[in-house]
């Protein structure tokens, strides 16, 4: 067959693509799939948020007002699973789908059909996770998983059908993430434009490359762990039952071998995009590109060997306590390199503070609090006091809301004009930023003090000395939740129309993605660009 004709036919074929719903069901286009990931993520962000607002409403005052403890326990666990697996991870994957091919000059992802499948596994997984809530309304089962997202055995062995639904949901989500990761690794390693060596590759791609490797290493361990849980529940195995020669702590090892790297899985894509944003709005090159690449790798490697600091009160032997304490502390070193590079990128630039830059600065400061409290948490003796308390809850929300979600919002505001071809409303964006930052701190700062004062996490009711801080936190949480409606409106408004965005969008941008039109054509980089050595 004549190759030229084939190419031509191939291109003509695009005019006949299905439209409407069928387009989205069958699409293999990285931009369409990226859009679906991001839309799904936004939707689930509100689902997970609604759950936790119900929890905060119950915690507004001491006493049980709105719900039974059983239902409270379901809400906290499903909130976490939804936010982590259905909101944050898909958002990062959506970014990867949209931006990696544009950034490295590839026409699409390496495995477009796998890509479609990876996305379409998510809605059924999310449905599985939340279905027990609905089933319980019809008298089937006793609701969703009520063990917290950590699913600790033997509590999860004891639990109702919600646990089984959660296990299968995790299996599906895991398969989806592994397929996404394979695709990203294949794309990055094989489809970079000529001249773009790995060390010249944009940091966002680097952040994702390390993330994808971490996912492939750790997700099978989680899948194995929850499968062992499943067989303990239904087939009389005794992996986690001491009476049968098993060990409940084994589950915690398996879970956190995944769970700790998961924190970096959620954060690395954000750390990857941050330098691009900072460089754009300081109009200055990224500081320490190579150092940041090596920091990503170092954090990835260290992240794999510190898991037991999530259960330092479980009674580990002293040598293990010391090892996990010092290895955890050492993560502060590569992380400090990142902070140093971010601030050095800003130093002596010419800064302007559009919404993405505001979110980036907010991210750096608040994520700084997460990093510093994390350093203190590593200390075994002090951890005995912080652990299982609201101090930890506050710490990881500084990491995952201020670090993860505000990081994602940075990316959305930064790239939205490129994706849609329109500028979002700067006024609404800034309003959203300030409301988010203020209400976020109102929500979570009091939780540090609650933890220090001795309030355990995951309790539906509390002693009277915790009342004031809980009330403040609840007011903050509702303000925080409502502020996000501005975000959704701003995004919707920008998709619909608005001021035309230029190809470069921002004055200080550099990189291949900004050479394409805004929005980029359905198929971009049909002819590979060549990166010239400077």
């Amino acid at each position: 067959m004549n190759t030229a004709t084939h190419t031509l036919d191939h291109h003509d074929g695009h005019g006949q693509h299905p439209t409407g719903l069928l387009r989205w069901l069958t699409t293999t286009n990285h931009k369409d799939i990226g859009t679906m990931y991001l839309t799904f993520s936004l939707l689930m962000f509100f689902v997970g948020g609604a759950m936790i607002l119900a929890v905060r409403a119950e915690l507004f005052q001491p006493g049980l007002q709105l719900m039974k403890p059983e239902f409270f326990n379901q809400l906290i666990g499903v909130h976490a699973l939804v936010m982590i697996f259905a909101a944050l991870m898909p958002a990062a994957t959506g970014f990867a789908n949209w931006m990696i091919p544009l950034m490295i000059g590839a026409p699409d992802m390496a495995l477009p059909r796998l890509n479609n499948w990876g996305f379409w596994l998510l809605p059924p997984a999310a449905m599985l996770l939340t279905m027990p809530f609905v089933l319980a309304l019809f008298g089937i089962g006793d609701g969703a998983v009520a063990t917290g997202w950590t699913l600790y055995a033997p509590l999860s062995v004891q639990g109702g059908i919600g646990v089984d639904f959660a296990i299968f949901s995790i299996h599906i989500l895991g398969i989806s993430s592994i397929m996404g990761s394979i695709n990203i690794i294949a794309t990055i390693l094989n489809m970079r434009a000529p001249g773009m060596t790995l060390m010249k590759m944009p940091l966002f791609c680097w952040g994702w490359l390390v993330t994808a490797v971490l996912l492939i290493i750790t997700l099978p361990v989680l899948a194995g762990g929850v499968t062992m849980l499943l067989t303990d529940r239904h087939f009389d195995t005794h992996f986690f039952n001491a009476a049968g020669g098993g060990d409940p702590i084994l589950f915690q090892h398996l879970f956190w071998f995944f769970g700790h790297p998961e924190v970096y899985i959620l954060l690395l894509p954000v750390w990857g995009l941050m330098p691009h944003v900072l460089s754009t709005f300081t109009r200055k090159p990224i500081y320490g590109h190579t150092a940041q690449v090596w920091s990503f790798i170092a954090i990835g490697v260290l992240g794999l060997i510190v898991w037991a600091h999530h259960f330092l009160t479980a009674g580990l032997p002293v040598p293990a306590l010391l090892y996990f304490m010092y290895s955890t502390m050492s993560i502060s070193l590569p992380l400090a390199v990142l902070f140093f590079c971010w601030i050095a990128t800003m130093w002596r630039g010419a800064m302007s503070f559009e919404t993405p830059m505001l979110f980036a600065v907010g991210f750096i400061v608040l994520f700084g609090i997460a990093g510093l409290t994390g350093l203190v948490l590593a200390d075994v003796a002090a951890d005995a006091q912080y652990h299982h308390s609201y101090f930890v809850v506050a710490h990881f929300h500084y990491a995952l809301f201020a670090g993860g979600i505000m990081g994602v919002m940075t990316g959305v505001y930064y790239w939205l004009p490129k994706w849609t071809g329109h500028m979002y409303s700067e006024k609404l964006g800034k309003l959203h930023f300030w409301l988010t930052v203020i209400s976020f701190n109102f929500t979570f700062m009091p939780q540090f003090f609650l933890g220090l004062a001795g309030m355990p996490r995951r309790i539906p009711d509390y002693a009277l000395q915790f009342a004031e801080f809980n009330a403040i936190s609840t007011v903050g949480a509702f303000a925080l939740g409502l502020s996000q409606l501005i975000f959704a409106y701003n995004v919707w408004r920008c998709v619909k129309g608005g001021e035309k965005a230029s190809d470069k969008v921002w004055e200080g941008t550099s990189g291949l993605e900004w050479e394409l039109s805004s929005p980029p054509p359905h198929h971009s980089w049909d002819i590979q660009p060549v990166i010239k050595t400077p």
Binding site: P62, G63, L64, K68, P69, D142, T147, Y152, L155, V157, Q158, G160, A243, P248, K284, P285, A314, G315, V318, L322, M329, S332, L333, A336, I343, M346, W347, R348, A350, M351, G368, L375, V376, D379, A381, A382, A384, Q385, H387, H388, S389, F442, M445, P446, F449, A453, G454, P456, R457, R458, D461, Y462, A463, L464, Q465, E468, F469, A471, I472, G508
Partner: protein
């Protein structure tokens, strides 16, 4: 050592918060750990204070530099962007490596060394231990045993249901009060052994600076030396199911003489309870005692009227098991019968083996009560002596 108070930076914020929260007047504000009363607790607090100072300084210094840059290097100030993208020359490399060196020092010397000693100290449960307390977590109560004197009892939440549901005013120690407090002597090193019969629980008293998981099938340990008499309150800290928020820990620390008196009193109580297991009870006595014991031990799941919370917690009213035969004709235990369930529990569920925690009299009374209440009309009864024989 600097003991800059880590509360200060938060005060401004908290002040605003207080105004918002006006209306609840039960203010007993703590911005930090509650007052520690053990060596470990004091050590932890001073370490925590020191670390908070360190991280506050780091935070302020790093972000002061950033804020300075944000003010100074703005486009609107006419700043022209520099072009550098990494350290150039020995001097710049030096300045890049200085913060790295400082952080290494903070991690592994300034914080690392005291942290090392604290860990060693915290885990030294055996050296010169004066006595042992065994703590067993059960859904959702704590069982305490004193191996030296043979004392054992179960400690459950004493806050009335009405307070939790808002039908009564909440008491001073709402949710942090129990029926049987643990009593420990002041000044003695108490080695605490922990385990659980069902799921993982965590024993935590904030003022002791001690928190340790109670894991089913394993023993974990920790220790306390309480330095001041007083009542110290804490809670279960690991999600352990429905009533995780309702299993407080209350420890009363008393001088040694008072402790000895308590031990004698407790021993006498236990002897009296054992005597109750010997005598023959009437059905009415058993039902009356059974109602009280049921409400304390069973009602949280099976509900006061026996309707349960299906499917996790089955109803006892009209239950096949409760209305089944009591014992086999030879007086032996029937597998999966009512008596078997109460005594041996059901594995894989929250139904625990109550023979581990309840006396013969309590078990006999509860079984008799259940068979003659909630519309169940078996009309039969079981004597404590029969339970004793079945153990």
């Amino acid at each position: 050592m600097t003991t800059l108070n880590p509360r200060t930076p938060a005060k401004l914020f908290a002040g605003t918060g207080l105004m918002l929260a006006a209306g609840s007047a039960l203010a007993d504000y703590t911005w930090n750990f509650p007052k520690p009363v053990t060596p470990i607790g004091r050590d932890t607090l001073s370490m925590h204070n020191q670390f908070m100072v360190i991280i506050t300084v780091l935070f302020v210094v790093v972000f002061a530099i950033m804020v300075y840059s944000m003010i100074k290097h703005r486009k609107s100030n006419g700043a022209a962007p520099a072009r550098f993208s990494g350290p150039a020359g020995a001097l710049q490399w030096f300045w890049v490596l200085v913060p790295f060196g400082i952080l290494l020092f903070i991690d592994f010397v300034l914080m690392g060394i005291p942290a090392f000693h604290a860990v060693i100290d915290m885990e030294d449960t055996r050296t010169k231990a004066d006595m042992v307390l065994k703590v067993t977590g059960l859904q959702w109560k704590w069982k305490y045993e004193y191996p030296d004197s043979g004392i054992q009892f179960v400690s459950t939440l004493a806050t009335p249901r009405e307070q939790i549901e808002g039908k009564e005013a909440k008491g001073e120690h709402y949710l942090l009060e129990v029926d049987n407090e643990v009593v420990l002597p002041v000044g003695k090193k108490v080695r605490i052994l922990l385990t659980s019969t069902d799921v993982i629980h965590t024993w935590w008293v904030p003022q002791f600076g001690v928190k340790r998981d109670a894991i089913p099938g394993f023993l974990r340990e920790t220790w306390v030396r309480i330095e001041e008499p007083g009542v110290y309150r804490g809670q279960c800290a690991e999600l352990c199911g429905k009533d995780h928020g309702f299993m407080p820990v209350v420890v009363r620390a008393v001088p040694e003489a008072e402790y000895a008196a308590w031990v004698d009193k407790k021993k006498a109580e236990m002897a009296a309870a054992a005597a109750g297991g010997e005598k023959t009870w009437t059905k009415d006595e058993l039902i009356a005692a059974g109602k009280a014991a049921y409400e304390k031990n069973c009602a949280a799941c099976h509900q006061p009227e026996g309707q349960g919370l299906p499917p996790a917690f089955p109803a006892l009213a009209g239950s096949k098991i409760v209305n089944g035969p009591l014992l086999s004709p030879e007086g032996k235990l029937i597998p999966d019968s009512h008596v078997d369930r109460v005594m041996n529990g059901k594995t894989g569920t929250a139904m625990q083996a109550f023979k581990a925690t309840l006396s013969d009299a309590d078990i006999a009374a509860i079984i008799t009560y259940e068979r003659n209440s909630f519309g169940n009309t078996k009309g039969d009864m079981i004597q404590p002596a029969q339970i004793k024989a079945l153990r």
